[in-house]
């Protein structure tokens, strides 16, 4: 199926849900939806566009807002679903009910960006250590790594 046809179908199926639709490259389609339309849009992609495969979720810190891009792939195209949530109220809905394989990526978003994924089946940390302090979210732009001062046990003060 050529890209242009997919774009037309997406326009029809998503209707007003699609805030922006672009096709910057061959087999690359970007769709922007509002936060509340995320789960319905993912369901439409899975059921009508053969996008049961979610490659990953990318998070982006854009200052006032966080942007999340859900990279879906079907055998004919790579459809990227984009949504934004305000930094002051970082909450998104979990899509694990639609795509069970999304749980690892959602756990990563929680710890790296400090966003609350509502309804996630497993809210634990994914990569960060157990003794990582609360409220530190490494992939936010304002987070800087400060190397802790090395203390040699039994060394000179």
């Amino acid at each position: 199926m050529p890209d242009i046809e997919i774009v037309e179908n997406l326009k029809r199926d998503l209707g007003e849900k699609a805030l922006e639709l672009s096709n910057p490259d061959v087999r690359r389609i970007f769709v922007k939806v509002a936060l509340r339309d995320l789960v319905p849009a993912a369901t439409i992609l899975r059921d009508k566009y053969d996008c049961a495969y979610l490659a990953t979720i990318s998070g982006l810190d854009k200052g006032d807002v966080f942007e999340f891009i859900y990279h879906f792939a079907s055998p004919v195209a790579n459809i990227n679903l984009r949504t934004e949530c305000p930094r002051s109220e970082p909450r998104i809905a979990s899509i694990c009910a639609v795509i069970p394989g999304a749980v690892l990526y959602e756990r990563e978003l929680q710890e790296m960006f400090g966003v609350t994924v509502e309804g996630i089946p497993d809210p634990r940390r994914l990569n960060l250590p157990d003794d990582w302090p609360d409220g530190q979210f490494p992939l936010r732009k304002d987070w800087k790594h400060v190397r802790p001062e090395e203390v040699i046990p039994g060394g000179k003060p």
Binding site: A55, G101, P129
Partner: protein
């Protein structure tokens, strides 16, 4: 009574050190929990502080076995952002190295699968073969592991006629040996019986859990980025997607065997139609603001990089998803209802790095909390002993 067995985090069975907690009842695994992050290196954050060129070398060090995969995935994305068109000869050399890397990774994996199943001559044969392709890679790039052949706008080293002849010669040898050893595999019923039916992953689960690469293809999901999203040279090449329907470790062996033969074919096509000309174009220092999704079929499955540029000489964001991460939910599913004795084999079926070392596994009694430490070699010995007396599965056949 159920026990919990922690495996790892110091465990090179998977690419990154990973901690698995298995709940077992008797010999049967009833629950698996995966904990990651023991060796989390923060590369995505680091990439935001390095220039476009430096990041090639950062991404190359994400993985040791498929080092070329991440670097290529990154480079082809950045080339799109910079609107560079690498010369055809450069692209052909780049993807020749990709296919050679796939061959060495799959041969390594086949040896590991043989070793874990207690078929050590298979392991020694395939690893001897692997030296042929490692020597070829060393001849092309100067290195056995981190080839560093990619640069923005092409590759760093050219091939001459003598090298091309040597690679073709090597591929002929490899193909002949592969076919012979696979014949041996087919005629060893105990090997086939050991791996058939182990680590079952149904097609529905493979789809739902977003499995990638040979794991998905062995469950009948024909998912291969080289076909679905033919990047760079793959549109011009003739090859087939290898799949199997048995959904078990045997299927994963068969898929990789078939992929080896396809890769030999691809290498020969690339070398026979290698165009003349330059190997690289000059790349600018900065990239215009923009974003790109770059996909690449690594030996273990789809590799995806999301790259965003902000107009400076450094990326705004580089998101990396390695194929092993995508296969973790499927791994949990495969291990469930399996046997303790099958853990090494199912591990090996996902990722080849189990060959690295003899590992320590701690058995913790859930009731008393008492721990007993066994080495991975003992676990393997138990596995072999358990299956020595098992009846040969009469209906298991080598499907090649």
């Amino acid at each position: 009574m159920s026990f919990e067995i922690p495996i790892g985090p110091q465990h090179p069975a998977l690419k990154e050190p990973i901690s698995l907690r298995m709940t077992v009842e008797g010999e049967v695994i009833t629950g698996v929990d995966i904990r990651l992050g023991y060796n989390h290196r923060g590369m995505e954050k680091l990439a935001e502080e390095k220039s476009w060129l430096q990041n090639i070398y950062v991404t190359e060090r994400i993985c040791g076995i498929c080092s070329h995969s991440h670097a290529t995935c990154y480079v082809q994305g950045v080339e799109k952002l910079m609107e560079l068109a690498p010369p055809k000869r450069g692209l052909y050399i780049r993807y020749l190295v990709s296919e050679l890397e796939r061959i060495h990774s799959h041969l390594l994996w086949l040896g590991v699968a043989g070793h874990e199943a207690g078929f050590d001559s298979f392991f020694m044969y395939t690893w001897r073969d692997r030296e042929v392709v490692m020597d070829l890679l060393e001849m092309i790039s100067g290195n056995r592991v981190h080839y560093a052949i990619n640069t923005l706008g092409g590759v760093r080293r050219d091939l001459d006629a003598g090298q091309i002849a040597k690679i073709l010669e090597g591929i002929v040898t490899l193909r002949k040996r592969s076919e012979y050893y696979f014949y041996i595999g087919a005629n060893e019923p105990s090997f086939v019986a050991r791996i058939a039916g182990v680590g079952y992953l149904s097609k529905e689960n493979a789809l739902a859990l977003c499995a990638v690469g040979p794991v998905a293809r062995a469950s009948g999901v024909a998912r291969d980025v080289r076909k679905e999203d033919p990047y760079a040279v793959y549109g011009d090449l003739d090859f087939a997607i290898a799949t199997a329907d048995s959904c078990d470790v045997l299927g994963r062996v068969v898929v990789r065997v078939k992929e080896l033969l396809e890769s030999y074919k691809i290498c020969e096509q690339i070398l026979k139609s290698l165009p003349a000309g330059d190997i690289a174009v000059k790349a600018p220092r900065k990239a215009k603001p923009g974003e790109v999704v770059s996909r690449y079929e690594a030996p273990r499955g789809e590799n995806i990089h999301y790259i965003k540029a902000n107009g400076t000489d450094k990326p705004e964001r580089l998101k990396v998803r390695a194929p092993t991460l995508a296969n973790y939910p499927a791994t949990v599913e495969m291990l469930r209802k399996g046997f303790i004795a099958d853990i090494p084999l199912i591990f090996a079926a996902i990722d080849p790095c189990i060959c690295c070392a003899e590992r320590t596994v701690t058995l913790v009694s859930a009731g008393s909390g008492a721990e007993s430490v066994v080495r991975m070699s003992d676990l393997r010995r138990r596995a072999i002993a358990r299956h020595r007396n098992a009846p040969v599965k009469r209906n298991a056949v080598w499907p090649l």
